[in-house]
């Protein structure tokens, strides 16, 4: 009898232990798209950056209020008239393959960004001339000329440090088995189905990680994404549709998190790209001013986005420390808009607005069409599939283009390439170019002090917000729905999901 009781207890204990061992905690995240290649040098999609946030740590990161904070680098300072950035690296960090993360690996990763054929990072850090190893845990980034946005670039994929051993062994297949120094290591990927990452036990900040596994599941339809989190199949989903927010708020099983993004949406006007720029809208600033005055941004936000997004009139949202406060959002003024059109000699200007075939953007276009119609504008909406619209925009085959930009941490990333004469034509699709602006744009990226840069941006705003090559309209918010049991999630303006601190109750 005693023997039987002992055996029963032993069996129970064994099964309990097995239960504990198999009670793996998994965080299941629903993404709006399937990411592209998981190589920080070659990657190009926003959704890929969400996966990288769990996989690859960066030299520096941002805080929710957009300050640059330490990650793999603990300290940094500018030298040589802002042409050198000295960074001290965190000690005791290892890559997910057990290799040591040191100054040599930082040099390797940054040089890889600059030299790997097809690198999408090269343009972001092109000011970087060389990387000098000062000692095992100190590097100096040497620049051609001062370039203040460099530090902000290092808060994203350009700052991700990969294992040199793995990168050399895998070559151009590195993206199939990426190895970095982040909290989770790559385990498996089934294209369009799932990406599985497992906890990296030797992560330098392992106390902040409370899951054994993260599974990313791409689910394109926002209704289905939300249904999955409602039914408990997922724990967290990104990019909830603004029109679904009421559902999320009313559902006790769910929680909502929101933050204004770094992105902007607006009407890019063709001012100088080919024959289609030769019309009153493209050539006359009074007509563009009238267009802006005819639009009620608050009503637009209310009607199309349930009032959830932020109205805006600059490349940075009003909540950003980089917003030029002297130039606030102008109100709607139909009388003035009509007077401007009359003064310009075109009381009823007509133009075609190209709009990517996204339901929310199309709705916004219709509201703009109706509002501007009251001032005398005749807007024809040309709904065009995104890749085709991009092609037409680059070729100059458009008059106005309702399009957005996903936004960058440094304001330079939202501005320079869209209004500068030296900007890539594939970004400054309207070919706006004003020589007076060039020295200001250059100055805004060379000064390291925030005050100096803000002063430059105020001068830039005084030109571009009057010329209006882009009529900025709204800034989307990142909207997340999650299980009410999930705690510790902090939204960031860059929209990425950082796993540190997230815990399931």
């Amino acid at each position: 009898m005693a023997m039987r009781r002992f055996l029963s207890c032993a069996l129970l204990a064994t099964s309990l232990c097995a239960g504990a061992a198999s009670a793996q905690t998994t965080l299941r995240i629903g993404l709006a798209e399937d990411p592209d290649i998981l190589d920080p040098t070659l990657a190009r999609t926003y959704v890929g950056r969400i996966v990288f946030a769990s996989l690859c740590d960066k030299l520096v990161d941002i805080s929710p209020t957009l300050e640059v904070v330490p990650q793999l680098a603990t300290e940094w300072h500018w030298t040589d008239d802002n042409k050198g950035l000295v960074m001290t690296l965190r000690q005791g960090v290892t890559f997910q393959d057990g290799e040591k993360m040191d100054a040599a690996s930082v040099k390797f990763s940054l040089e890889r960004h600059l030299t790997l054929p097809g690198s999408n990072r090269k343009a972001e850090i092109s000011a970087l001339k060389s990387v000098e190893i000062v000692d095992d845990h100190t590097v100096k980034l040497v620049l051609d000329k001062p370039f203040a946005p460099l530090l902000a670039q290092l808060t994203d994929r350009a700052g991700m440090i990969v294992s040199p051993k793995a990168a050399q062994e895998e070559g151009d297949k590195f993206g199939e088995h990426p190895v970095c120094a982040g909290p989770f290591k790559f385990t498996e990927r089934v294209a369009q189905d799932r990406i599985v990452l497992d906890r990296f036990p030797d992560y330098w900040n392992k106390d902040a990680i409370h899951f054994d596994r993260i599974v990313f599941l791409p689910i394109a339809d926002s209704t289905v994404r939300l249904s999955n989190v409602q039914s408990g199949q997922l724990d967290l989903v990104e990019r909830v549709a603004a029109t679904d927010l009421d559902t999320v708020r009313k559902d006790t099983r769910l929680k909502l998190a929101t933050i204004t993004s770094l992105a902007y949406n607006g009407i890019t006007i063709n001012t100088g790209n080919g024959d289609r720029a030769k019309n009153p809208l493209g050539q006359n600033t009074q007509v563009r001013e009238a267009l802006e005055l005819s639009i009620d941004r608050t009503a637009l936000n209310q009607v199309v986005f349930n009032g959830e997004f932020a109205a805006g009139n600059q490349w940075e949202p009003p909540s950003s420390p980089w917003y030029v406060k002297d130039m606030p959002i102008p109100g709607r003024d139909i009388v003035k808009a009509k007077a401007l059109l009359a003064a310009a000699g075109v009381p009823h200007p007509s133009f075609t607005m190209m709009v990517p075939t996204n339901p929310e953007t199309l709705r916004a276009a219709q509201v703009i069409q109706s509002m501007a119609g009251e001032a005398g504008f005749d807007i024809k909406i040309q709904a065009t599939e995104f890749a085709s619209s991009l092609d037409l925009a680059v070729k100059g085959d458009f008059e106005a283009y309702l399009i957005g930009w996903s936004g960058r941490t440094d304001p330079d990333g939202n501005l320079y390439n869209f209004v500068g004469c030296k900007a890539p034509p594939a970004l400054n699709t309207g070919h706006y170019c004003t020589p007076d602006l060039e020295p200001l744009l250059d100055a805004s990226r060379t000064a390291a002090a925030v005050d100096e840069r803000l002063a430059d941006y105020a001068k830039i705003a005084a030109i571009t917000l009057v010329d209006r090559p882009i009529v900025y309209l709204w800034h989307q918010k990142w909207l997340y729905a999650m299980s009410s049991k999930l705690n510790g999630f902090t939204p960031y303006p860059d929209g990425l999901i950082r796993p540190q601190g997230i815990v399931m109750q």
Partner: protein
């Protein structure tokens, strides 16, 4: 029979050649530059130039076609520009998923459509017939994505019985695999069942009025024997043709259903590839689908002969 089969098999190669020309040619009509679409938001001119060079986008069309066909002959379908993986691997990864979903959907269609068609024909002009016809009309009319979302709302969100979306491989868990596929298979099968019911009904009505059926009845055979052994066998020929065509359509990817239920099959693969101008993936998937259609038609022809001995002559 052997000569017939050989003739049909010999036709496969020229058909595929023609299809390959068509796919390649039509795709060039799509607006937009794949290199620009793939260069990322920054659209760095150096990256655009690199992609054009790497994927031969600067070459004349005949050269690009020749390079593609040459690759296929050695099993190389090219590389996906978007995720930088061989197209062959992607096809091999997705084919079993789409194949299983298509198989289950056909099973649903057969289990509902054929019996409903037989009953409607036998009970012609009764309430059962009208009911089945109305159900079929409903099945054809209801949009797949809408039915899909309704089912998710009911069985996943409200009742919590089935997973809302996703796919689990049968090797991982057969139970989970079937649970994830029940709703999409029903949504797809429902629409086909409706068409199948209509075809079975009309074929059965035709056969039931034939002389040999009257003779069978006169011989005193039971109703079940007359319908199942004599009538149904002959009525099945149009149903088999329809089944082969519908199965082929399912294999080409049930685009909307796969999108709603997030099934990582051909449908999702091809939609993403088209929007991203990932030409190699589009070409590879369409070619495989064409091959599947050809083979299914061949199988349907063989099935005719097996079902109806009169065609063996």
């Amino acid at each position: 029979m052997t000569a017939f089969l050989l003739r049909r098999v010999a036709l496969i190669v020229p058909t595929l050649f023609f299809v390959s020309l068509l796919i390649f040619g039509l795709q060039q009509l799509l607006p937009a530059d794949p290199a620009l679409a793939m260069a990322g938001e920054e659209r760095d001119p150096a990256v655009v130039a690199f992609l054009r060079e790497k994927y031969h986008l600067n070459e004349p069309l005949p050269v690009r076609y020749w390079l593609w066909v040459k690759g296929i002959t050695v099993g190389d379908f090219g590389e996906s520009i978007r995720i930088k993986r061989p197209v062959r691997d992607l096809i091999l990864e997705k084919l079993p998923v789409t194949g299983e979903l298509a198989g289950l959907a056909m099973l649903v269609a057969l289990c509902i459509g054929v019996p409903a068609g037989i009953i409607a024909a036998v009970k012609r002009d009764t309430a059962i017939d009208y009911g089945a016809t109305m159900a079929a009309l409903w099945g054809v009319s209801i949009p797949n994505f809408w039915l899909g979302i309704l089912l998710i709302m009911l069985f996943s969100v409200t009742l919590g019985w089935l997973p809302a979306s996703g796919f689990v491989s049968p090797a991982e868990s057969l139970k989970q695999n079937l649970l994830t596929l029940i709703m999409p298979a029903f949504v797809l099968g429902n629409a086909i069942a409706a068409v199948m019911m209509r075809h079975t009904r009309s074929a059965m009505l035709q056969v039931l009025s034939a002389d040999y059926v009257r003779t069978a009845r006169a011989k005193g055979l039971s109703q079940a024997s007359v319908i199942l052994r004599h009538a149904l066998r002959n009525a099945l020929i149009p149903v088999v043709t329809l089944g082969a065509l519908e199965f082929g359509a399912l294999l080409s990817g049930a685009v909307l259903t796969e999108q709603v239920f997030t099934i990582p099959g051909f449908g999702k693969l091809i939609v993403d590839a088209v929007f991203n101008r990932d030409y190699a993936v589009v070409q590879g998937v369409v070619l495989c689908t064409a091959l599947a259609y050809i083979l299914l038609n061949l199988l349907a022809d063989i099935a005719y002969v097996l079902i109806n001995p009169r065609l063996r002559a």
